[in-house]
Protein backbone atom coordinates (compact mmCIF):
# COMPACT_ATOMS: atom_id res chain seq x y z
CA UNK A 1 0.00 0.00 0.00
CA UNK A 2 1.14 3.58 -0.64
CA UNK A 3 2.65 5.38 2.31
CA UNK A 4 -0.24 7.49 3.48
CA UNK A 5 -2.32 5.70 6.08
CA UNK A 6 -5.40 7.54 7.10
CA UNK A 7 -6.82 4.98 9.42
CA UNK A 8 -4.83 5.74 12.49
CA UNK A 9 -5.99 9.26 13.04
CA UNK A 10 -9.39 10.71 13.53
CA UNK A 11 -9.56 13.33 10.84
CA UNK A 12 -11.47 11.05 8.48
CA UNK A 13 -13.92 9.85 11.11
CA UNK A 14 -17.65 10.34 10.53
CA UNK A 15 -20.76 9.17 12.35
CA UNK A 16 -23.92 7.49 11.12
CA UNK A 17 -26.20 7.85 14.10
CA UNK A 18 -24.52 5.86 16.88
CA UNK A 19 -22.18 4.13 14.47
CA UNK A 20 -18.69 5.56 14.24
CA UNK A 21 -16.83 5.05 10.93
CA UNK A 22 -13.04 5.38 10.58
CA UNK A 23 -13.60 7.11 7.28
CA UNK A 24 -16.62 8.06 5.19
CA UNK A 25 -16.19 5.34 2.55
CA UNK A 26 -18.09 2.08 2.39
CA UNK A 27 -18.78 -0.53 -0.24
CA UNK A 28 -22.10 -0.34 -2.07
CA UNK A 29 -24.31 -3.38 -1.57
CA UNK A 30 -23.96 -5.92 -4.35
CA UNK A 31 -20.44 -4.88 -5.30
CA UNK A 32 -18.45 -6.49 -2.50
CA UNK A 33 -20.12 -9.88 -2.14
CA UNK A 34 -19.89 -10.93 1.52
CA UNK A 35 -16.35 -9.63 1.85
CA UNK A 36 -14.25 -12.70 1.02
CA UNK A 37 -13.26 -11.71 -2.51
CA UNK A 38 -12.13 -8.18 -1.64
CA UNK A 39 -10.24 -9.52 1.39
CA UNK A 40 -7.88 -11.16 -1.12
CA UNK A 41 -6.92 -7.65 -2.25
CA UNK A 42 -6.83 -5.51 0.88
CA UNK A 43 -7.35 -5.33 4.62
CA UNK A 44 -11.10 -4.86 5.07
CA UNK A 45 -10.54 -2.93 8.30
CA UNK A 46 -9.39 0.00 6.19
CA UNK A 47 -12.98 0.55 5.07
CA UNK A 48 -15.37 2.95 6.76
CA UNK A 49 -17.88 0.11 6.68
CA UNK A 50 -18.60 -2.90 4.55
CA UNK A 51 -22.10 -3.15 3.12
CA UNK A 52 -22.79 -6.72 2.04
CA UNK A 53 -24.73 -8.20 -0.86
CA UNK A 54 -28.48 -8.09 -0.25
CA UNK A 55 -29.96 -11.13 1.47
CA UNK A 56 -33.43 -12.58 1.53
CA UNK A 57 -35.01 -15.19 3.81
CA UNK A 58 -34.50 -17.98 1.29
CA UNK A 59 -31.81 -18.23 -1.42
CA UNK A 60 -32.58 -16.42 -4.67
CA UNK A 61 -31.28 -17.80 -7.91
CA UNK A 62 -30.91 -14.55 -9.83
CA UNK A 63 -31.69 -13.69 -13.42
CA UNK A 64 -30.68 -15.42 -16.68
CA UNK A 65 -27.64 -14.21 -18.61
CA UNK A 66 -26.49 -11.90 -20.13
CA UNK A 67 -26.83 -10.00 -16.89
CA UNK A 68 -24.47 -7.13 -17.60
CA UNK A 69 -23.51 -4.83 -20.42
CA UNK A 70 -21.28 -1.82 -20.60
CA UNK A 71 -22.70 1.45 -21.90
CA UNK A 72 -20.99 4.81 -22.37
CA UNK A 73 -19.27 5.54 -19.03
CA UNK A 74 -21.55 3.14 -17.23
CA UNK A 75 -22.91 -0.36 -17.06
CA UNK A 76 -26.35 -1.92 -16.93
CA UNK A 77 -26.88 -4.93 -14.70
CA UNK A 78 -29.72 -7.26 -14.01
CA UNK A 79 -28.30 -9.74 -11.54
CA UNK A 80 -31.64 -10.24 -9.87
CA UNK A 81 -30.50 -10.23 -6.25
CA UNK A 82 -28.93 -13.66 -6.44
CA UNK A 83 -28.04 -14.51 -2.84
CA UNK A 84 -27.44 -17.41 -0.48
CA UNK A 85 -30.39 -16.70 1.81
CA UNK A 86 -30.45 -15.87 5.52
CA UNK A 87 -29.42 -19.24 6.98
CA UNK A 88 -26.33 -19.70 4.82
CA UNK A 89 -25.46 -16.05 5.34
CA UNK A 90 -25.49 -16.42 9.13
CA UNK A 91 -23.71 -19.78 9.07
CA UNK A 92 -21.05 -19.25 6.39
CA UNK A 93 -20.73 -15.62 5.37
CA UNK A 94 -21.15 -13.40 8.42
CA UNK A 95 -18.52 -15.13 10.61
CA UNK A 96 -15.92 -14.57 7.91
CA UNK A 97 -16.40 -10.83 7.55
CA UNK A 98 -16.63 -10.40 11.35
CA UNK A 99 -12.91 -11.21 11.56
CA UNK A 100 -12.05 -7.66 10.55
CA UNK A 101 -12.35 -4.57 12.68
CA UNK A 102 -14.91 -2.98 10.38
CA UNK A 103 -18.60 -2.18 10.85
CA UNK A 104 -20.69 -4.74 9.00
CA UNK A 105 -23.89 -3.51 7.38
CA UNK A 106 -26.29 -6.13 6.06
CA UNK A 107 -28.55 -5.24 3.17
CA UNK A 108 -31.96 -6.94 3.32
CA UNK A 109 -34.75 -7.46 0.85
CA UNK A 110 -38.08 -9.17 0.95
CA UNK A 111 -41.46 -9.51 -0.67
CA UNK A 112 -43.45 -8.47 2.39
CA UNK A 113 -43.02 -6.38 5.53
CA UNK A 114 -43.07 -9.64 7.51
CA UNK A 115 -40.03 -10.92 5.61
CA UNK A 116 -38.13 -7.70 6.20
CA UNK A 117 -38.85 -7.77 9.93
CA UNK A 118 -37.86 -11.43 10.26
CA UNK A 119 -34.59 -10.70 8.47
CA UNK A 120 -33.94 -7.61 10.58
CA UNK A 121 -34.57 -9.45 13.86
CA UNK A 122 -32.30 -12.34 12.92
CA UNK A 123 -29.52 -9.98 11.87
CA UNK A 124 -29.79 -7.88 15.02
CA UNK A 125 -29.46 -11.07 17.03
CA UNK A 126 -26.42 -12.03 14.94
CA UNK A 127 -24.83 -8.75 15.90
CA UNK A 128 -24.52 -6.80 12.67
CA UNK A 129 -23.68 -3.11 13.10
CA UNK A 130 -26.17 -1.84 10.59
CA UNK A 131 -29.12 -2.91 8.48
CA UNK A 132 -29.82 -1.36 5.12
CA UNK A 133 -33.35 -1.78 3.82
CA UNK A 134 -33.27 -2.41 0.12
CA UNK A 135 -36.51 -1.03 -1.23
CA UNK A 136 -35.07 0.07 -4.52
CA UNK A 137 -33.67 -2.76 -6.61
CA UNK A 138 -35.10 -2.36 -10.10
CA UNK A 139 -34.33 -5.91 -11.19
CA UNK A 140 -36.86 -8.08 -9.43
CA UNK A 141 -40.52 -7.26 -9.13
CA UNK A 142 -40.64 -8.51 -5.57
CA UNK A 143 -37.30 -7.02 -4.51
CA UNK A 144 -38.80 -4.24 -2.52
CA UNK A 145 -39.15 -1.72 -5.33
CA UNK A 146 -42.89 -1.82 -4.68
CA UNK A 147 -42.11 -0.36 -1.26
CA UNK A 148 -39.67 2.13 -2.76
CA UNK A 149 -42.18 3.73 -5.08
CA UNK A 150 -45.26 3.98 -2.88
CA UNK A 151 -44.97 6.39 0.01
CA UNK A 152 -47.58 4.76 2.24
CA UNK A 153 -46.23 1.20 2.04
CA UNK A 154 -42.70 2.63 2.26
CA UNK A 155 -43.48 4.42 5.54
CA UNK A 156 -45.21 1.43 7.06
CA UNK A 157 -42.30 -0.84 6.14
CA UNK A 158 -39.74 1.46 7.77
CA UNK A 159 -41.98 1.70 10.84
CA UNK A 160 -42.34 -2.09 11.08
CA UNK A 161 -38.61 -2.73 10.83
CA UNK A 162 -37.75 0.14 13.17
CA UNK A 163 -40.04 -1.40 15.79
CA UNK A 164 -37.90 -4.56 15.69
CA UNK A 165 -34.42 -3.15 15.38
CA UNK A 166 -32.88 -1.52 18.44
CA UNK A 167 -29.11 -1.82 18.31
CA UNK A 168 -27.95 -1.77 14.67
CA UNK A 169 -28.26 1.50 12.78
CA UNK A 170 -31.14 1.39 10.35
CA UNK A 171 -30.40 2.71 6.88
CA UNK A 172 -33.04 3.00 4.18
CA UNK A 173 -31.83 2.85 0.59
CA UNK A 174 -33.98 4.98 -1.67
CA UNK A 175 -34.91 4.46 -5.28
CA UNK A 176 -34.00 7.17 -7.79
CA UNK A 177 -37.46 6.53 -9.22
CA UNK A 178 -39.23 7.51 -6.00
CA UNK A 179 -41.84 10.12 -6.79
CA UNK A 180 -40.49 12.98 -4.68
CA UNK A 181 -37.17 12.13 -3.11
CA UNK A 182 -37.69 14.73 -0.36
CA UNK A 183 -40.97 13.15 0.71
CA UNK A 184 -39.49 9.68 0.87
CA UNK A 185 -36.45 10.97 2.75
CA UNK A 186 -38.67 12.72 5.29
CA UNK A 187 -40.85 9.63 5.63
CA UNK A 188 -37.79 7.50 6.39
CA UNK A 189 -36.64 10.02 8.99
CA UNK A 190 -40.13 10.35 10.45
CA UNK A 191 -40.42 6.58 10.90
CA UNK A 192 -37.14 6.43 12.78
CA UNK A 193 -34.45 5.54 10.21
CA UNK A 194 -30.95 6.44 11.39
CA UNK A 195 -29.73 7.26 7.90
CA UNK A 196 -30.77 7.13 4.26
CA UNK A 197 -28.67 5.97 1.34
CA UNK A 198 -29.06 6.82 -2.33
CA UNK A 199 -29.09 6.29 -5.20
CA UNK A 200 -29.70 2.75 -6.34
CA UNK A 201 -29.26 2.06 -10.06
CA UNK A 202 -31.49 3.79 -12.60
CA UNK A 203 -33.71 1.57 -14.81
CA UNK A 204 -32.09 1.49 -18.25
CA UNK A 205 -31.86 -0.49 -21.47
CA UNK A 206 -29.48 -1.11 -24.37
CA UNK A 207 -30.00 -2.95 -27.67
CA UNK A 208 -27.42 -4.47 -30.02
CA UNK A 209 -28.39 -2.92 -33.36
CA UNK A 210 -26.63 -5.65 -35.34
CA UNK A 211 -28.44 -8.57 -33.76
CA UNK A 212 -31.46 -6.42 -32.80
CA UNK A 213 -31.50 -8.16 -29.43
CA UNK A 214 -31.49 -6.53 -25.98
CA UNK A 215 -28.02 -6.63 -24.43
CA UNK A 216 -29.54 -7.71 -21.11
CA UNK A 217 -31.61 -10.90 -21.10
CA UNK A 218 -34.22 -9.28 -18.85
CA UNK A 219 -34.26 -6.34 -21.29
CA UNK A 220 -34.32 -3.69 -18.57
CA UNK A 221 -31.62 -3.45 -15.93
CA UNK A 222 -30.10 -0.84 -13.64
CA UNK A 223 -27.59 1.73 -14.87
CA UNK A 224 -24.60 2.52 -12.65
CA UNK A 225 -21.16 4.07 -12.94
CA UNK A 226 -19.89 7.58 -13.77
CA UNK A 227 -22.76 8.10 -16.25
CA UNK A 228 -25.26 8.49 -13.37
CA UNK A 229 -23.14 10.60 -11.04
CA UNK A 230 -24.68 14.04 -11.73
CA UNK A 231 -28.16 12.64 -11.12
CA UNK A 232 -26.99 11.04 -7.89
CA UNK A 233 -25.33 14.23 -6.66
CA UNK A 234 -28.54 16.16 -7.32
CA UNK A 235 -30.66 13.61 -5.43
CA UNK A 236 -28.25 13.49 -2.50
CA UNK A 237 -28.41 17.28 -2.39
CA UNK A 238 -32.22 17.29 -2.35
CA UNK A 239 -32.47 14.47 0.19
CA UNK A 240 -29.96 15.98 2.58
CA UNK A 241 -31.78 19.32 2.45
CA UNK A 242 -34.99 17.55 3.44
CA UNK A 243 -33.74 15.65 6.52
CA UNK A 244 -31.46 15.96 9.53
CA UNK A 245 -30.35 12.32 9.59
CA UNK A 246 -27.12 11.43 7.75
CA UNK A 247 -27.23 10.73 4.04
CA UNK A 248 -24.99 8.13 2.40
CA UNK A 249 -24.32 9.19 -1.17
CA UNK A 250 -23.48 6.90 -4.05
CA UNK A 251 -23.69 6.69 -7.81
CA UNK A 252 -20.63 6.66 -10.03
CA UNK A 253 -17.94 7.47 -7.46
CA UNK A 254 -14.52 6.42 -8.77
CA UNK A 255 -12.17 8.95 -7.12
CA UNK A 256 -11.68 10.90 -3.90
CA UNK A 257 -12.85 14.04 -5.70
CA UNK A 258 -16.09 12.31 -6.67
CA UNK A 259 -16.63 11.38 -3.02
CA UNK A 260 -15.93 14.96 -1.90
CA UNK A 261 -18.49 16.20 -4.45
CA UNK A 262 -21.17 14.03 -2.83
CA UNK A 263 -20.15 15.24 0.62
CA UNK A 264 -20.27 18.88 -0.47
CA UNK A 265 -23.78 18.16 -1.74
CA UNK A 266 -24.72 16.95 1.74
CA UNK A 267 -23.57 13.35 2.13
CA UNK A 268 -22.08 12.33 5.48
CA UNK A 269 -20.62 9.17 4.00
CA UNK A 270 -20.32 7.66 0.55
CA UNK A 271 -20.39 4.23 -1.05
CA UNK A 272 -18.29 2.96 -3.93
CA UNK A 273 -19.87 0.38 -6.22
CA UNK A 274 -19.15 0.00 -9.92
CA UNK A 275 -15.61 1.37 -9.42
CA UNK A 276 -14.79 -1.85 -7.52
CA UNK A 277 -15.56 -3.77 -10.72
CA UNK A 278 -13.10 -1.53 -12.58
CA UNK A 279 -10.45 -1.96 -9.90
CA UNK A 280 -10.72 -4.11 -6.74
CA UNK A 281 -8.71 -1.48 -4.83
CA UNK A 282 -11.03 1.38 -5.82
CA UNK A 283 -12.63 1.80 -2.39
CA UNK A 284 -9.26 2.31 -0.71
CA UNK A 285 -8.15 4.71 -3.43
CA UNK A 286 -11.25 6.79 -2.73
CA UNK A 287 -10.35 6.88 1.00
CA UNK A 288 -6.84 8.05 0.13
CA UNK A 289 -8.20 10.53 -2.40
CA UNK A 290 -10.44 12.18 0.21
CA UNK A 291 -7.43 12.50 2.55
CA UNK A 292 -5.32 14.04 -0.22
CA UNK A 293 -8.08 16.49 -1.13
CA UNK A 294 -8.41 17.53 2.54
CA UNK A 295 -4.70 18.14 2.73
CA UNK A 296 -4.71 20.25 -0.42
CA UNK A 297 -7.60 22.31 0.88
CA UNK A 298 -6.46 22.55 4.48
CA UNK A 299 -9.51 20.72 5.81
CA UNK A 300 -8.99 19.14 9.24
CA UNK A 301 -12.11 17.02 9.57
CA UNK A 302 -13.92 15.03 6.90
CA UNK A 303 -17.19 15.62 8.72
CA UNK A 304 -16.86 19.32 7.99
CA UNK A 305 -17.12 18.71 4.24
CA UNK A 306 -20.74 17.58 4.55
CA UNK A 307 -23.02 20.18 3.00
CA UNK A 308 -20.15 22.67 2.65
CA UNK A 309 -20.90 23.55 -0.95
CA UNK A 310 -20.52 27.30 -1.49
CA UNK A 311 -23.24 29.14 -3.36
Amino acid sequence: MPARENNNNKRLEVKLGRLKLKNPVMTASGTAGYGAELAEFFDLSKLGAIVLKGISLTPWQGNPTPRITETRCGMINSIGLQNVGLDAFLREKLPFVRQWDVPVIANILGTSAAEYTRLASALEEAGVDGIELNVSCPNVKEGGIAFGLDLKSFASLVRAVRARVKKPVLIVKLSPGAPGIEEFSRAAEGEGADAISLINTIPAMAIDVNTRRPLIKNRIGGLSGPAIKPIAVRMVYQASKAVKIPVIGMGGITTGEDAVEFMLAGATAVAVGTATFMDPMAVLKVVQGIGAWMERHGIKKASSITGAMLT
Binding site: T65, E70, M75, F277, M278, P280
Partner: protein, 233 residues
Protein backbone atom coordinates in the same frame (compact mmCIF):
# COMPACT_ATOMS: atom_id res chain seq x y z
CA UNK B 1 -0.27 -8.91 -27.45
CA UNK B 2 2.41 -9.16 -24.81
CA UNK B 3 2.87 -7.27 -21.59
CA UNK B 4 5.46 -7.19 -18.86
CA UNK B 5 5.82 -5.54 -15.47
CA UNK B 6 9.34 -4.26 -14.92
CA UNK B 7 8.83 -3.50 -11.21
CA UNK B 8 7.37 -6.80 -10.06
CA UNK B 9 7.96 -10.45 -10.71
CA UNK B 10 5.43 -11.59 -13.29
CA UNK B 11 2.93 -13.96 -11.69
CA UNK B 12 2.92 -17.56 -12.81
CA UNK B 13 -0.20 -18.21 -14.83
CA UNK B 14 -1.60 -21.70 -15.46
CA UNK B 15 -3.57 -23.00 -18.48
CA UNK B 16 -7.25 -22.02 -18.16
CA UNK B 17 -6.65 -18.85 -16.17
CA UNK B 18 -7.32 -15.35 -17.43
CA UNK B 19 -6.40 -11.72 -16.97
CA UNK B 20 -8.59 -8.64 -16.75
CA UNK B 21 -7.09 -6.21 -19.18
CA UNK B 22 -7.70 -2.47 -19.29
CA UNK B 23 -6.28 0.66 -20.83
CA UNK B 24 -5.63 3.83 -18.90
CA UNK B 25 -8.19 6.47 -19.77
CA UNK B 26 -9.57 9.42 -17.83
CA UNK B 27 -12.80 9.42 -19.83
CA UNK B 28 -13.85 6.12 -18.24
CA UNK B 29 -14.73 4.81 -21.66
CA UNK B 30 -14.26 1.90 -21.87
CA UNK B 31 -15.17 1.66 -18.22
CA UNK B 32 -14.49 -1.95 -17.30
CA UNK B 33 -11.55 -4.22 -17.92
CA UNK B 34 -12.07 -7.14 -20.30
CA UNK B 35 -11.17 -10.78 -19.65
CA UNK B 36 -8.54 -12.49 -21.85
CA UNK B 37 -7.19 -16.01 -21.43
CA UNK B 38 -3.63 -16.62 -20.47
CA UNK B 39 -2.11 -17.54 -23.82
CA UNK B 40 1.59 -18.04 -23.25
CA UNK B 41 4.69 -16.71 -21.62
CA UNK B 42 7.78 -15.72 -23.53
CA UNK B 43 10.65 -14.78 -21.27
CA UNK B 44 9.52 -11.89 -19.13
CA UNK B 45 6.44 -11.22 -21.24
CA UNK B 46 2.94 -12.60 -20.74
CA UNK B 47 0.92 -12.87 -23.90
CA UNK B 48 -2.79 -12.74 -24.63
CA UNK B 49 -4.43 -13.38 -27.96
CA UNK B 50 -7.33 -11.25 -29.13
CA UNK B 51 -9.51 -10.55 -32.12
CA UNK B 52 -10.67 -7.02 -32.81
CA UNK B 53 -14.41 -7.06 -32.18
CA UNK B 54 -15.31 -3.89 -30.27
CA UNK B 55 -14.17 -0.74 -28.60
CA UNK B 56 -11.59 -2.21 -26.23
CA UNK B 57 -9.93 -4.48 -28.77
CA UNK B 58 -9.82 -1.61 -31.29
CA UNK B 59 -7.96 0.46 -28.70
CA UNK B 60 -5.67 -2.50 -28.00
CA UNK B 61 -4.86 -2.72 -31.68
CA UNK B 62 -3.67 0.89 -31.57
CA UNK B 63 -1.32 0.36 -28.61
CA UNK B 64 2.40 0.80 -29.21
CA UNK B 65 5.39 -0.85 -27.53
CA UNK B 66 5.94 0.85 -24.18
CA UNK B 67 2.32 1.95 -23.67
CA UNK B 68 1.03 1.38 -20.15
CA UNK B 69 -1.88 -0.95 -19.57
CA UNK B 70 -3.71 -2.19 -16.47
CA UNK B 71 -3.72 -5.92 -15.96
CA UNK B 72 -5.29 -7.88 -13.11
CA UNK B 73 -4.51 -11.54 -12.73
CA UNK B 74 -4.00 -14.38 -13.18
CA UNK B 75 -7.60 -15.13 -12.17
CA UNK B 76 -9.86 -18.16 -12.19
CA UNK B 77 -9.20 -21.88 -11.99
CA UNK B 78 -6.97 -24.18 -14.00
CA UNK B 79 -7.59 -27.10 -16.40
CA UNK B 80 -7.05 -30.27 -14.31
CA UNK B 81 -4.33 -32.25 -16.05
CA UNK B 82 -3.98 -35.43 -13.96
CA UNK B 83 -6.24 -37.57 -16.17
CA UNK B 84 -4.13 -36.82 -19.24
CA UNK B 85 -1.41 -39.07 -17.83
CA UNK B 86 -3.27 -42.27 -18.75
CA UNK B 87 -5.63 -40.89 -21.38
CA UNK B 88 -5.05 -38.99 -24.60
CA UNK B 89 -5.94 -35.32 -24.32
CA UNK B 90 -8.47 -34.48 -27.03
CA UNK B 91 -8.65 -30.72 -27.41
CA UNK B 92 -11.42 -28.88 -29.25
CA UNK B 93 -11.04 -25.15 -29.76
CA UNK B 94 -13.11 -22.61 -31.62
CA UNK B 95 -12.01 -19.15 -32.76
CA UNK B 96 -9.97 -17.22 -30.22
CA UNK B 97 -10.75 -20.03 -27.75
CA UNK B 98 -7.47 -21.41 -29.05
CA UNK B 99 -5.71 -18.99 -26.69
CA UNK B 100 -7.08 -20.79 -23.64
CA UNK B 101 -5.96 -24.28 -24.73
CA UNK B 102 -2.62 -23.25 -26.24
CA UNK B 103 -0.63 -23.36 -22.98
CA UNK B 104 -2.40 -26.61 -22.09
CA UNK B 105 -1.29 -28.25 -25.34
CA UNK B 106 2.21 -26.96 -24.69
CA UNK B 107 2.08 -28.57 -21.24
CA UNK B 108 1.09 -31.93 -22.76
CA UNK B 109 4.37 -31.96 -24.67
CA UNK B 110 3.14 -33.39 -27.93
CA UNK B 111 0.52 -35.83 -26.63
CA UNK B 112 -2.60 -33.77 -27.42
CA UNK B 113 -4.85 -34.19 -30.43
CA UNK B 114 -6.26 -30.83 -31.43
CA UNK B 115 -9.42 -30.06 -33.38
CA UNK B 116 -9.41 -26.38 -34.17
CA UNK B 117 -12.34 -24.71 -35.87
CA UNK B 118 -13.13 -21.31 -37.33
CA UNK B 119 -15.53 -19.79 -39.77
CA UNK B 120 -12.90 -19.61 -42.50
CA UNK B 121 -9.18 -19.92 -43.19
CA UNK B 122 -8.69 -16.32 -42.05
CA UNK B 123 -9.69 -17.23 -38.49
CA UNK B 124 -7.19 -20.06 -38.14
CA UNK B 125 -4.14 -18.75 -36.33
CA UNK B 126 -0.77 -20.20 -35.30
CA UNK B 127 -1.04 -23.28 -37.49
CA UNK B 128 2.68 -23.90 -37.58
CA UNK B 129 3.18 -23.56 -33.83
CA UNK B 130 0.14 -25.69 -33.08
CA UNK B 131 1.32 -28.46 -35.39
CA UNK B 132 4.68 -28.41 -33.68
CA UNK B 133 3.29 -28.77 -30.14
CA UNK B 134 0.47 -31.26 -30.74
CA UNK B 135 0.44 -34.93 -31.71
CA UNK B 136 -2.15 -34.27 -34.39
CA UNK B 137 -3.82 -31.09 -35.62
CA UNK B 138 -7.12 -31.13 -37.46
CA UNK B 139 -8.31 -27.78 -38.77
CA UNK B 140 -12.02 -27.37 -39.52
CA UNK B 141 -13.66 -24.40 -41.22
CA UNK B 142 -17.36 -23.73 -41.70
CA UNK B 143 -16.82 -22.73 -45.33
CA UNK B 144 -14.27 -25.42 -46.11
CA UNK B 145 -11.60 -22.87 -47.03
CA UNK B 146 -9.11 -24.86 -44.95
CA UNK B 147 -9.06 -28.45 -43.73
CA UNK B 148 -12.23 -30.29 -42.77
CA UNK B 149 -15.45 -28.61 -43.96
CA UNK B 150 -17.66 -28.31 -40.90
CA UNK B 151 -17.17 -27.67 -37.23
CA UNK B 152 -14.29 -28.81 -35.06
CA UNK B 153 -16.75 -30.95 -33.12
CA UNK B 154 -17.88 -32.63 -36.35
CA UNK B 155 -14.25 -33.37 -37.15
CA UNK B 156 -13.70 -34.81 -33.67
CA UNK B 157 -16.81 -36.97 -33.99
CA UNK B 158 -15.50 -38.42 -37.26
CA UNK B 159 -12.18 -39.15 -35.59
CA UNK B 160 -13.84 -40.84 -32.62
CA UNK B 161 -15.87 -43.17 -34.85
CA UNK B 162 -14.70 -46.66 -33.96
CA UNK B 163 -12.54 -45.47 -31.08
CA UNK B 164 -13.28 -45.85 -27.38
CA UNK B 165 -14.23 -42.46 -25.85
CA UNK B 166 -12.89 -43.64 -22.50
CA UNK B 167 -9.37 -43.52 -23.92
CA UNK B 168 -9.62 -39.72 -24.15
CA UNK B 169 -10.01 -36.75 -21.87
CA UNK B 170 -11.72 -33.69 -23.37
CA UNK B 171 -10.52 -30.10 -23.12
CA UNK B 172 -12.54 -27.48 -24.92
CA UNK B 173 -12.84 -23.73 -25.21
CA UNK B 174 -14.91 -21.73 -27.67
CA UNK B 175 -18.40 -20.38 -28.25
CA UNK B 176 -21.24 -21.86 -26.19
CA UNK B 177 -22.70 -23.74 -29.17
CA UNK B 178 -19.37 -25.51 -29.60
CA UNK B 179 -19.05 -26.33 -25.91
CA UNK B 180 -22.54 -27.78 -25.92
CA UNK B 181 -21.78 -29.98 -28.93
CA UNK B 182 -18.38 -30.99 -27.54
CA UNK B 183 -19.98 -31.97 -24.22
CA UNK B 184 -22.34 -34.26 -26.15
CA UNK B 185 -19.47 -36.29 -27.71
CA UNK B 186 -19.50 -38.64 -24.74
CA UNK B 187 -15.96 -37.91 -23.59
CA UNK B 188 -15.41 -36.86 -19.99
CA UNK B 189 -13.28 -33.83 -19.45
CA UNK B 190 -13.28 -30.10 -19.02
CA UNK B 191 -14.68 -27.08 -20.82
CA UNK B 192 -13.84 -23.43 -20.32
CA UNK B 193 -16.74 -21.02 -20.55
CA UNK B 194 -16.59 -17.52 -21.93
CA UNK B 195 -18.98 -15.02 -20.35
CA UNK B 196 -19.21 -11.27 -20.18
CA UNK B 197 -17.58 -10.11 -16.97
CA UNK B 198 -17.56 -6.82 -15.11
CA UNK B 199 -15.15 -7.45 -12.22
CA UNK B 200 -13.38 -10.78 -12.86
CA UNK B 201 -12.93 -11.32 -9.11
CA UNK B 202 -16.28 -12.78 -8.10
CA UNK B 203 -18.21 -9.85 -6.71
CA UNK B 204 -20.47 -8.62 -9.53
CA UNK B 205 -22.18 -11.97 -10.30
CA UNK B 206 -22.44 -10.88 -13.93
CA UNK B 207 -20.68 -13.89 -15.48
CA UNK B 208 -23.18 -16.43 -14.19
CA UNK B 209 -23.02 -19.91 -15.70
CA UNK B 210 -26.05 -22.15 -15.29
CA UNK B 211 -24.97 -25.44 -13.73
CA UNK B 212 -26.63 -28.46 -12.16
CA UNK B 213 -26.01 -26.80 -8.79
CA UNK B 214 -27.47 -23.42 -9.77
CA UNK B 215 -25.66 -20.40 -11.09
CA UNK B 216 -21.88 -20.36 -10.71
CA UNK B 217 -19.39 -17.61 -11.51
CA UNK B 218 -17.26 -18.13 -14.63
CA UNK B 219 -14.57 -15.92 -13.07
CA UNK B 220 -14.23 -17.51 -9.65
CA UNK B 221 -15.83 -20.97 -9.79
CA UNK B 222 -14.53 -21.34 -13.40
CA UNK B 223 -13.76 -20.60 -16.14
CA UNK B 224 -13.06 -24.35 -16.31
CA UNK B 225 -15.98 -26.67 -15.55
CA UNK B 226 -16.38 -30.45 -15.78
CA UNK B 227 -18.26 -31.74 -18.82
CA UNK B 228 -21.90 -32.25 -17.89
CA UNK B 229 -21.77 -29.65 -15.15
CA UNK B 230 -23.02 -26.74 -17.27
CA UNK B 231 -26.64 -26.61 -18.42
CA UNK B 232 -26.78 -25.23 -21.94
CA UNK B 233 -30.01 -23.50 -22.99
Amino acid sequence: MGFSAPDIALPKAEPGQFFMFGVKNCEKDPLLKRPFCYFRRRGNTLEILYRVVGKMTSIMKGLRPGDEVEVLGPLGNVYPMAQAVCKTPLVIAGGVGIASVYPLIERFKGSAILFYGGRSKKEILLRKELRAISKKLVVATDDGSMGFKGTAVDAARDFLNGRNPDDFVLYSCGPNGMLKAASALGIQGYIASEEKMACGIGVCLGCAVKTKEGYKRACKDGPVFKTGEIIFD
